[in-house]
Symmetry: C2
Subunit: 347 residues, 2 copies
DNA sequence: CTGAAAGCGCTTACAG
DNA sequence: CTGAAAGCGCTTACAG
């Protein structure tokens, strides 16, 4: 291993103390223009780049933002694989982070202790939490005193944090409204878990609101749950619906992946979309355009969600912020909009 | 900020020196069972977890593996968004890394200097390089003296590194063979860049090999290039093909995304898949099953590719390995296989 | 078996 | 304007 080039080498080369080198690297004002130039040229000549590990240790700042996802199976890998949503979000995070000279680290977390350990051991400067964790975790995190932003949470105990979300109720509303305007009356709602997932519940409320406004009576039997957001679960729900024999002409779903799985199941059973069923997804993942028929859906800019979340984090960090002294714990609500494609038609 | 809990706090609590605490944390044998237990219980009681930053600095080891992708636009985000391939690969990396108590960092890199800086400043223990970089970068990296594994490279200057790849020629061969066996004779080949991409070239060779074996004459005009692996480029190629008026009944493509874009273009123009055209993709991304018709393709286990690459890296790291002293620079070739779905049929 | 001391590469009051 | 010194939290020869 060729010896690592350190600040002292630069100092020697420039004929100054290593402290002085540190000053110019950090833009501390007290160095004369002349020595500054000397140091700068030495840095260039030696091709020196400072060691973040050492900087982290002495500045107590890592320039790393962490993204935490709940660990269902034994790796976040599995959920990433299954749902493009996470990728888009992460891409946004990564982009903003790197623009600001931060790096991004991702981890799946099974329990609050693990999370705490991770933050401590990596000296994370900020944390983005994706998905729902037990209240205990949030309390645990509070003690860590770093900026935290939560994504898509509605739980009461979460509102002491920054939050980035969308108007889920409006999303459900727009999707349903579209279907009603197309003349549909027997509209099914497909969620993952209507008792545990606040996001789903909100969208469901939007759904029911439209029914009420339109004088369509709500039919409990047209509500379906899939328990997970995967293509396979979508297929299962689709088949279940077919077998149920319920009279239904359209579906509002809580996720594109689910909708796509349902379409697959329908097509397998010789149903035609949108002739036999109209269906609207949620999220507007890029695959919505790939499939045939392309999927009508509620667009949320997930990539942007990641960017906004990271902006918030970075801002808090720069405010010297811990989660408690954070300027204000604001909730940013990003827009949703209906994207009409080929999977819906008038009846 | 509540004072950070350090090794000294534990030492004080246990009534030993902080060195002793370090010994038990690191499993150094020289501590008596008795003190060890004492220390362990103090650690537990105080809820202590060591600071990786400090460990990194003194051990000169970060427990981070880096994944580098070429930066086309201004963020790797863009390529991640466009191509599921990267996600699947990364998922594999992340999984193996975390199983071994490593974290993963990703960066997009525009030039060799940036990369060098990144590795140095984060003290990366190992590096996975995805995609093709100029030779200069590899030479630059060589100096860094950390284990490196390259993915899917054929360039001559790359064979002094570990390499994980697939048999691209066989992939092209299998895809083409399948089509020929279905009775197709006018088969198009769609690559990104047949002069610059070694991967494409190999697959193309497999393609031509089948033609030769089958006594089908090679028609230069049935070779198309898309210049980028995106859905949009696939659509463009599809339209271009339609406009070209070439007589062709089937296509071998170099990527699922491209194939899916082409299908979209064909369907838009009232062509039917697989009745009018048979088409086979490459990679077997999960979307292959989502679309209709589902896509016949060449499967490579990308997730596993990420795992294998990370295994190699970790092994080298544990061998105290730098890139030069690495046990051996081996190339691992992962299997490919044909997956027949609905986008191909006999003529 | 245990601990004092030096060191990893940097930052930052403090004194001059 | 410049530098000596202490410190960030850990590891690891070395001596006892």
């Amino acid at each position: 291993m060729n010896k690592k080039l350190t600040i002292r080498d630069v100092a020697k080369h420039a004929g100054v103390s290593h402290a002085t080198v540190s000053y110019v690297v950090n833009g501390v004002k007290k160095v004369s223009e002349e020595t500054k130039l000397k140091v700068l040229s030495s840095i260039k000549e030696l091709n020196y780049s400072p060691d973040f590990t050492a900087i982290s240790l002495s500045k107590r700042k890592s320039n790393i933002v962490g993204v935490m996802v709940p660990l269902i199976e034994n790796s976040p890998a599995s959920m990433f694989k299954k749902n493009q949503y996470y990728h888009d979000f992460l891409s946004g995070v990564e982009m903003v982070a790197r623009e600001n000279n931060f790096d991004t680290m991702i981890t799946g977390v099974g329990n609050p202790e693990e999370c705490r350990e991770w933050v401590i051991k990596r000296n994370l400067d900020g944390l983005i939490i994706l998905g729902i964790f037990p209240e205990r975790l949030y309390r645990e995190m509070k003690k860590l005193d770093i900026p935290i932003v939560l994504i898509d949470t509605y739980e009461e105990y979460t509102n002491q944090y920054n939050n980035v979300k969308i108007d889920d109720e409006l999303g459900g509303y727009l999707a349903t409204k579209h279907l009603v305007e197309l003349g549909h009356k027997n509209i099914g709602f497909v969620g993952t878990n209507l008792t545990l997932s606040p996001v789903d519940i909100k969208r469901f409320e939007g759904f029911k609101k439209v029914l009420k406004e339109s004088g369509i009576s709500f039919n409990e039997r047209l509500v379906f749950e899939s328990y997970d957001i995967t293509f396979e679960h979508g297929v299962q729900v689709g088949e279940h619906i077919l077998n149920s024999g319920e009279e239904v002409t359209a579906f509002v779903t809580v996720s594109d992946i689910l909708a796509i799985g349902m379409i697959k199941a329908f097509q397998k059973n010789n149903k035609h979309i949108p002739d036999d069923y109209s269906i609207v997804g949620f999220d507007d993942l890029s695959i919505c355009e790939y499939i045939s028929p392309s999927l009508t859906t509620i667009n949320q800019d997930i990539f942007n969600k990641g960017k906004v979340a990271t902006d918030l984090i970075l801002k808090s960090i720069n405010n010297g912020g811990s989660s408690t002294q954070m300027v204000e714990n604001k909730t940013v609500e990003l827009p949703v909009k209906l994207i009409i494609r080929e999977s819906t038609k008038s009846i």
